[in-house]
């Protein structure tokens, strides 16, 4: 027998109103926050609307037609009514008012904050409004790039869980408010702070943007390096033209990316991701391979750490005195 599994929320009941939120970003964020509560040992109950689980038909879909999104977010929760005692409830304002009036700790998702109207909003819209969409991707005129998956909503879910845990620790009644826009703009602070602190914001594809992905023989690698890493990286590639202007400085390399790629591109294209990564890492240059989800299932690091279940489900990403928090829940939704 190992040590007892840590369960900081053991004995606590959490009401997941994610399926009853009016808008999808709120629903995804609430469902993520409740999923984390379940991983921390709470009993999570998820009431469903009359037409059933709203995520059941959402992509990505499995070959049998089931939703991987539903499986990921709702595993370990119990579908059921919002009756009985709950220590905490998570949802949007309307769902909390309708189903959690008596619950002492409420976590309320909104677009802009507790005292603002909640206009129709999507995750892409939130990324746009927060500046997070505009800063990611190739330089204009290329379009900006949305981060894959549900990063906007899931980040809000992480923030919600953190605040909820704190409110539970404090005891008594509390309403925790999480604005989806505030969380996304908080993640993107360098852009806002650039304007407010330094007087100029970074823009997508600016001359300092010297990090990008480069084609390797079997895919791509992420070319990531600091100024101090340039000499070893340059020497690794070994082309004498890299010793000359305009490639000597970071801004010079950033402003002349096409010319730089003409020189370094063939070196990368001739090698596998693993060869490039090994050579760069041997010089402590933080280049890494671009890996697809299917490759991560076989990833040696993830295997060694027991991070992914055989069905691909990731554990809560924390080792707790060397243990993973894995819960078996009878009568679970998934």
């Amino acid at each position: 027998m190992g040590l007892a599994m840590p369960a900081p929320l053991a004995g606590r009941r959490v009401l997941d109103l994610g399926a009853l939120c009016a808008q999808r970003p709120h629903a995804l964020a609430a469902s993520m926050a409740a999923k984390l509560c379940a991983a921390y040992g709470a009993e999570v109950v998820r009431p469903l609307p009359a037409d059933g689980e709203p995520f059941a038909s959402l992509p990505p879909l499995l070959p049998d037609g089931a939703s991987a999104l539903h499986r990921f977010l709702n595993a370990g929760k119990r579908p059921g009514p919002a009756t009985g005692w709950f220590d905490a409830a998570i949802g949007d304002g309307a769902a909390l008012a309708a189903h959690a009036a008596e619950v002492p700790v409420k976590a309320r998702l909104s677009v802009f904050g507790p005292d603002e109207p909640d206009p129709p909003m999507s995750e892409l819209g939130l990324a746009a409004l927060s500046g997070l969409l505009g800063i990611v991707g190739e330089a204009p005129p290329a379009p900006p790039s949305r981060l894959a998956g549900h990063q906007v909503a899931y980040s809000a879910g992480l923030a919600t869980c953190t605040a909820l845990l704190a409110a539970l620790r404090a005891g008594g009644e509390e309403v925790v408010d999480v604005s989806l826009l505030d969380v996304t703009a908080w993640l993107n602070w360098k852009v806002a702070a650039g304007v407010m602190v330094i007087g100029s914001a970074p823009v997508r594809g600016n001359a300092k943007a010297t990090w990008f992905t480069v084609k390797a023989r079997d895919g791509y690698v992420a070319l990531v390096y600091q100024d101090k890493d340039w000499p070893p990286l340059r020497d690794l590639i070994g082309d004498p033209r890299l010793l000359e202007e305009p490639f000597i400085t970071g801004p010079g390399r950033g402003a002349n990316r096409a010319a730089l790629l003409e020189i370094i591109g063939p070196w990368f294209a001739a090698r596998t991701r693993a060869e490039i990564t090994a050579a760069a890492q041997a010089r402590r240059v933080p280049i890494g391979p671009v890996k697809y989800p299917v490759e991560l299932l076989e990833d040696a690091q993830y295997r060694a750490r027991g991070f992914l279940a055989p069905d691909g489900t990731p554990s809560l990403p924390v080792g707790w005195d060397g243990q993973r928090l894995v819960r078996e829940v009878a009568d679970a939704a998934v």
């Binding site: 995750e123 620790r169 602190v197 990403p317």
Partner: protein, 350 residues
């Protein structure tokens, strides 16, 4: 130490913050915002690299003037202590006797090189919550792999699925997404560990891998891949929102349109000027008026706020040590030996 607000959730919790740049330091800042007292500990030979900044005037105390350092670390007490010296290590161990949480995001192996191996700390301070935030985690064959946030976007699966063009996209140094998002999760895991300690009396060593978190946030894609479903790069299309699209606004910018709404793709200038941003909490102000890292949630009954500005390096050396029971003469000796300082040992830009 100043008295923290007794009404806040982490009132009375003492955090020793060895965190650097964002992943460690901003996690500790969230704990501060929830009511903890945070002492940021930096060595005179190894201050937080965030203190180095492009606009630094080398004729000044440039290490106290980094805008982004001050933005991130506002409100923490500052202790400048040489952990590489055994006498400095002993001082830190005495601080840990009174501490509840230790946060660190050094390269793996650095803590052990200081004689501060987490396993030893766990044994010596059984109630301490140790949060080790790292790229790959404490174990495994890639434990020592060198990575920045954007490297992890690549190795965790996010880059492969991101990008509107032919190539996978990383967020780069202006975002370094995994470094930002880990703070939201790590702070929660630390609060969870404090709840567990309330239940059991036991602290914990939390091994937080930023790469794992980044993959976790793509969990549905991992489950789909394991079942044999493809993992397409969808660019700006969200198959769950088929009516949504990104369109050029005719003025060199872009708009997002979806059934029922639309939004401009803002740059930093537009964001900073937006009313809902100004009314929001993503960026707040320190008491000295300077912009400060905001707080990504609000409590209706226990208002959270940025209560203090950034302290100069080592400004709290004496206060912190006195509170930990050091006699004035002991502190004098540590200062004379250069183990306590108020400037980097080599006061130049690295």
């Amino acid at each position: 130490m100043p008295q923290s607000d007794p009404a806040l959730p982490l009132a009375g919790i003492r955090v020793v913050d060895l965190g650097w740049i964002t992943a460690g330091a901003a996690s500790s800042t969230l704990l501060l915002d929830l009511g903890a007292d945070v002492v940021k500990v930096e060595g005179p030979g190894a201050p937080d690299p965030f203190r180095q900044w492009e606009g630094a005037d080398l004729g000044t105390d440039w290490w106290n003037r980094s805008p982004f350092f001050a933005f991130t670390n506002r409100g923490k007490q500052s202790l400048c202590l040489d952990l590489k010296d055994p006498r400095g290590r002993e001082v830190l161990l005495r601080l840990l006797e009174e501490a509840d949480v230790l946060v660190e995001n050094f390269r793996r192996g650095v803590m052990a090189s200081f004689g501060l191996d987490p396993a030893m700390l766990r044994q010596r301070f059984p109630r301490l919550v140790i949060a080790s935030i790292s790229s790959q985690g404490e174990t495994g064959p890639d434990r020592d792999m060198v990575s920045f946030g954007s490297t992890l976007e690549a190795t965790a699966g996010l880059a492969a699925l991101t990008g509107a063009g032919e190539a996978p996209v990383i967020t780069g140094r202006d975002v370094n997404y995994p470094d930002q998002v880990v703070c939201l999760f790590a702070a929660g895991a630390i609060v969870a560990a404090l709840l567990e300690r309330d239940r059991t009396g036991q602290g914990a060593h939390l091994d937080l891998s930023q790469r794992e978190l980044t993959s976790f946030l793509l969990g549905e894609e991992l489950i789909a891949a394991a079942a044999g479903a493809p993992s397409p790069r969808r660019g700006n299309l969200d198959p769950a929102e088929p009516g949504e699209r990104l369109v050029a606004d005719g003025e060199g910018g872009w708009r997002v349109e979806w059934p029922g709404g639309s939004a401009p793709v803002r740059d930093g200038v537009a964001l900073a000027a937006a009313e809902e941003f100004v009314r929001g909490t993503a960026v707040l102000r320190s008491p000295d008026g300077s912009p400060a890292k905001g707080i990504p949630f609000r409590f209706a009954r226990r208002p959270l706020a940025v209560k203090d500005s950034c302290h100069d390096l080592g400004a709290d050396n004496r206060t912190v040590l006195q509170a930990a029971g050091f006699a004035a003469e002991e502190i004098d000796r540590l200062e004379a030996a250069g183990l306590l300082a108020t400037a980097p040992r080599t006061a130049k830009r690295g």
